[in-house]
């Protein structure tokens, strides 16, 4: 690994919020107490990213993804730990760090709502002190890659979500930042627009060597774009490694969800393991390459009084849960 462009060591972020009792009486009481809840959104994270890497940073809602990104971008000050981005401590050198990075928050827009898209890009030109020639050249490039020509004179509020996201990407990349943080850039966007966004990210990474941290909970973004994946769960790193390795381990697995009323004990089947149980419903995991679904279902039906069953692909949540089960043995 060459000299890392991102270095994160023992990063911790705690949030303090007033402790709220439920109900109206509780709300009133909250006004007079100083009790606080401390939430560790990020709980001792360390990783390094080499220049030009495209890293998927994945976790469930509230796992600490966005909080990490906000510390890397210099928006939030960590409770403890270190962050270095291209040699700078982001929150101490906020403005200089901002010149090196591009940020897209999928849920928000940095564009001026009421003005034509081009006005926001003109602002980028001035904020990042681009020369006229650089601006013209880069604008031509993003306009072509993101197909923005017709959108430039359109007020941002009239753009669809996918178009707006392309506008936001253009604004984040126009000045060729060394590091690009994409926080759920495909959230709520239709399939076609998603694909266009993905190919743009891949292109930036390939041609400019832009380092990309991609936060998402759409695993397809990661599959399409990233070689490396960092999984985060409850503020900690649950997995950090190659995507293909993770896929080989888990993603071929299928999940059998079955309802067996009047059966309290464990469900024993060869080639499948029980992972969860709620009342009569049992979740079983199996690898269809080893155990064909048909034979599994046949065995199941011969042994138990099955009321209903469904076979599902394993989603990210299951992968994360499974990794945790394997790693700690206790936390689920």
């Amino acid at each position: 690994m060459s000299e890392p462009i991102l270095r994160v060591a023992n990063l911790v972020k705690e949030f303090r919020t007033p402790r709220r009792a439920p109900g109206l009486v509780g709300s009133v009481r909250t006004l007079f107490t100083r009790e606080q809840n401390v939430v560790r959104a990020v709980d001792g994270i360390s990783f390094e990213v080499a220049p030009g890497e495209l890293v998927g940073y994945v976790g469930r809602n509230g796992a600490g993804k966005s909080t990490t990104i906000k510390m890397l971008t210099g928006i939030l000050v960590p409770t403890s730990g270190e962050v270095l981005v291209d040699g700078l401590v982001p929150w101490r050198d906020r403005v200089r760090n901002a010149l090196n990075i591009g940020v897209v928050f999928g849920q928000r827009t940095s564009l001026w709502w009421d003005l034509p898209l081009v006005e926001s890009l003109e602002l980028i030109k001035r904020l990042y002190r681009m020369s006229d020639a650089d601006y013209r050249r880069e604008l031509d490039r993003v306009v072509e890659l993101l197909e923005l020509a017709e959108l430039l004179p359109t007020p941002v509020r009239q753009l669809s979500l996918g178009q707006r996201m392309r506008g936001d990407l253009a604004a984040a990349i126009l000045y060729r930042p060394r590091v690009l943080y994409l926080d759920e850039p495909t959230v709520g966007v239709d399939v076609l627009a998603k694909e266009r966004i993905r190919s743009f990210i891949a292109e930036m990474n390939r041609t400019d060597g832009t380092t990309v941290m991609l936060t998402t909970h759409d695993l397809r973004d990661v599959e399409r774009l990233c070689r490396r994946l960092i999984l985060i769960e409850q503020g900690r790193i649950a997995f950090d490694g190659r995507v293909d390795e993770l896929k080989a381990r888990y993603s071929m697995d299928r999940q059998l969800v079955v309802d067996i009323p009047d059966h309290g004990g464990p469900v024993v089947l060869s080639g499948a393991e029980e992972v969860r149980r709620e009342g009569p419903r049992v979740w079983l995991r199996f690898d269809p390459r080893k155990t064909p679904a048909a034979s599994l279902v046949a065995e199941l039906a011969s042994r138990y009084a099955v009321a209903d069953l469904v076979i599902e692909e394993i989603d990210l949540e299951d992968v994360v849960r499974r990794i945790f089960v394997e790693q700690s043995g206790t936390r689920t």
């Binding site: 809602n61 939030l76 901002a98 940095s110 602002l123």
Partner: protein, 266 residues
């Protein structure tokens, strides 16, 4: 600073353009102001009950004063008080914080842009304003100059107060209450409803110890030539003092606020 000037100018222009897109909004605000000016005129005319002067202030001067005071508190009003806390509440402030331009310069630029647009629109509506209230030129060229300087300082003072109030949203996450309080206190102590001339002594003392009088009462006292010579310089001195104090305070508040940032939402 010069490095940032093009970005700040563009930011100002963008916000000015945004104001100009919402002309209906402006029209409604204008209507409200006109109504207030009209009602003040009616009430004060009744209070004067035919007397030519009260405490050396003629009714005509008073109406012209109130008309201008209401315009003055309008275009000086720091929009940041209304706009910024919403950005903190929604988490959009995250995007302000990743720009390679400090948050304070951004707020200053955007505020100047809005004021520019509002001033243009107010200027265009002066004929109607004159019809509803009354307008009068400054007492002299000197009075006009002093008024301009005082108004520029007043703008800076009010902006510093507005930014400080806006930044409290980093702690409380809610400042609509603060905004409303500001609106009342500001209007009253700026002298936009009753000039400080008519305040009882103790209240006048209170008003003179607060920065709000710099917004309408002091500049307009200069405009109408009621403060001259040493008194005029004293008034400017008071504004300069407030300007310095409040900007130092605003910067201190900002330094603390930034460590408290707590972005809402994912």
């Amino acid at each position: 600073m010069s490095l940032f000037a093009p970005a700040m100018t563009h930011l100002a222009r963008m916000d000015a353009q945004t104001v100009l897109t919402y002309r209906v909004n402006f029209g409604l605000h204008l209507l409200g102001r006109l109504l207030q000016i009209y009602l003040l005129k009616v009430v004060w005319t009744a209070v004067y009950a035919g007397q030519a002067e009260v405490d050396g202030v003629s009714l005509a001067t008073l109406i012209a004063y109130l008309t201008l005071a209401n315009l003055q508190t309008w275009f000086i009003y720091p929009e940041a008080v209304d706009v910024f806390p919403n950005r903190v509440r929604s988490g959009a402030v995250a995007l302000d914080l990743v720009r390679p331009l400090g948050l304070l310069p951004q707020l200053i630029a955007r505020s100047l842009g809005r004021t520019f647009a509002v001033t243009l629109l107010v200027g265009a509506s002066l004929p109607i304003v004159a019809l509803v209230g009354s307008l009068r030129p400054p007492a002299s060229a000197e009075a006009a100059g002093l008024y301009l300087v005082a108004t520029v300082l007043a703008y800076g003072i009010t902006l510093a107060i507005g930014i400080m109030l806006a930044l409290t949203s980093f702690w409380t996450l809610e400042t609509s209450g603060v905004g409303v309080l500001f609106l009342f206190v500001n209007q009253f102590f700026a002298g936009a409803l009753i000039p400080l001339w008519f305040f009882p002594d103790w209240l006048r003392t209170v008003a003179e110890l607060l920065p709000f009088q710099t917004q309408a009462f002091l500049p307009l006292s200069l405009y109408f030539g009621r403060l001259q010579g040493g008194d005029a310089l004293h008034a400017l001195g008071v504004e300069v003092l407030w300007f310095g104090l409040l900007w130092i305070a605003a910067i201190v508040v900002w330094r603390r606020a930034i460590r408290r940032v707590h972005i809402q939402g994912g």
